[in-house]
Symmetry: C2
Subunit: 391 residues, 2 copies
Amino acid sequence: MVRRHQGISVNAKQQQQPSSVGAVRSQYADFDSPFSFASGARLPSWRLAYESYGELNEKKTNAVLICHALSGSQHAAGYYEGGEESAGWWDNFIGPGKPVDTGDFFVLSPNNLGGCHGSSGPASPHPEDGKPYGSRFPVVTVEDWVRAQAALADRLGIQQFAAVVGGSLGGMQALRWAVDYPDRLRAAVAVAAAAKLSALNIAFNDIARQAILRDPHFHGGDYYGRGEFPRGGLGVARMLGHVTYLSGPAMAAKFGRARRAASARFDYETEFEVESYLRYQGAKFSGVFDANTYLLMTRALDYFDPAAECEGDLARAFAKAGGEFFLLSFSSDWRFPPSSSRELARALLAAGKRASYIEVQTEEGHDSFLLANPVYHEAVRAFMSRLAQTL
Amino acid sequence: MVRRHQGISVNAKQQQQPSSVGAVRSQYADFDSPFSFASGARLPSWRLAYESYGELNEKKTNAVLICHALSGSQHAAGYYEGGEESAGWWDNFIGPGKPVDTGDFFVLSPNNLGGCHGSSGPASPHPEDGKPYGSRFPVVTVEDWVRAQAALADRLGIQQFAAVVGGSLGGMQALRWAVDYPDRLRAAVAVAAAAKLSALNIAFNDIARQAILRDPHFHGGDYYGRGEFPRGGLGVARMLGHVTYLSGPAMAAKFGRARRAASARFDYETEFEVESYLRYQGAKFSGVFDANTYLLMTRALDYFDPAAECEGDLARAFAKAGGEFFLLSFSSDWRFPPSSSRELARALLAAGKRASYIEVQTEEGHDSFLLANPVYHEAVRAFMSRLAQTL
């Protein structure tokens, strides 16, 4: 049948009503051999936490790797038993009848190295002294993450992914996969990604880091076990990040200049609705996320720049890349704007790769990659459906 | 003669070579009667620091009031004796042969109430106990500033300004002057201003404030005399402000992804040039500016919204405004974008006022109002020359 939605036509099988993958739990892969980072640092042993949804087929050809962004985790879909409100961060995107359909695919979603949700990270015990790594945890790069994910794929017997999929920093991982393991994926789906951060983006990252590094509870990164946590600085970092993931028009529509009280308070307490919202977001995040991980993730973003290995020639950097590419961007995203995805698409085409690009009209800014915009979701669904037909 | 420059033609007198107003010094006006704030708070007595350049004519009709922005001071032009490098913040704009020509005008430049350059502010001694006001200093509004400036004009015998001129928050003061003292100015020149802050702008201000308020050296605003100063938080606030005053393309052109070292450092020290630049700006600013003043200035920005007094009808808010209006904006300014100045221009025209608007093409973002863009400067020069002909 041909289904039409918002101008996109899809040859799809009879589509089922989208639903949740249901209750999930994290699994853990422990590696006893050392992990060597791009920096030269090493972990003597390491662990990746991950979740999986759907069934791996017999030929192991239907695996999809989900790469998370700055503040993500392995919990991309479903919910935790007893916590039905704890939906995964991409639950609208992954599941039965959803764009990444677990009726077709085995979806693998790891927490990245340096994370704070079960993979080896700054809060993990150092094998030598059993104390948290803290400031001793190495600065990690996108290349490192991809190499660790490949080791996890080896462990699970997955030789080739049907697709590696991610948004923002996750999209950068999908691109890195195509360059570093050209034979191990059939497609890279990079949503709201970029070939590298701009000076503006590096600046925002550094300001967020400074807010954390200057918090006296940070203790140089070795704050574990002190009963103090740099929540203030991490909250400011998150507030800043959050603002830049939205668009000005979306914020104007959502909050405008609305006040929580009828008249001016003449102080610095929460007065405008937008202040209330942001402080809530900052406080919530700083209660569940690790400041050291936030530092690591932002630095990995800064460093990502595959063209730098080829004197800035992005097409040359993609010359050896494998698989086909599907790029999406959002019109109101000013952190990873459409121009960044167009730059990627042009370079991929110049490198002779098969690449498609869609710019989705939205008002929701960078955050759009997490939202259920129908054009965006239908486009990914169509792309993934085509992949599913040739598993 | 007709002089042509970048497409703007000006009927100007024989123009002299632009030069500095030379060595200047601050003056002080002390007021023994109380000052009542919009909030209802009062100062029993108060002081304004100011500088002046040029000569007040006999009829006292050639005075121009300069209103400073968030981080400004009374030191707008010239230099301090013995510190020839200490040029005023608008020295390219004010002086002999400059857009605001001190050969024509007597230029009056006060430091606003709540400031940290000599006017009554949080660091000033409270008359009751001689200790710094600190957290006791009232939250101040643009209306308060304008009323204090009017008292200074009274003190100097200036009944009517030829023009009230300001950029950014200074432009908001110029607009407020026209509404609150319609007979006391002939023209308002508002550069890169807005009728009100957007939700995005309020959000950036609140994040900056949170960085200061959460600094443990802030001590609730009463940090004076403790040997501690919330420099860390104020530095982060300034870094954030600074980034948003630039444009993405300008930062890309100026810094790109240039590194200070050839290869990655794999830490959080200064690595990218843009980090180095921003941290330097933050450190420099936090060494000379008062954190309490930064809080006051940003809150005054948040509160400015003359249309709110007329159910959001900006044209009605301007109905009683006096003088003519000259508005300028900069194409790459995303904090006070051209759309904000166009909104002002439309409302002024709808209110039957005489208003001109120029959008200047620049890559320099909001900071453009402080830079010597020739189109911008020629436009202001032309406007001010016309005013000078009818003094």
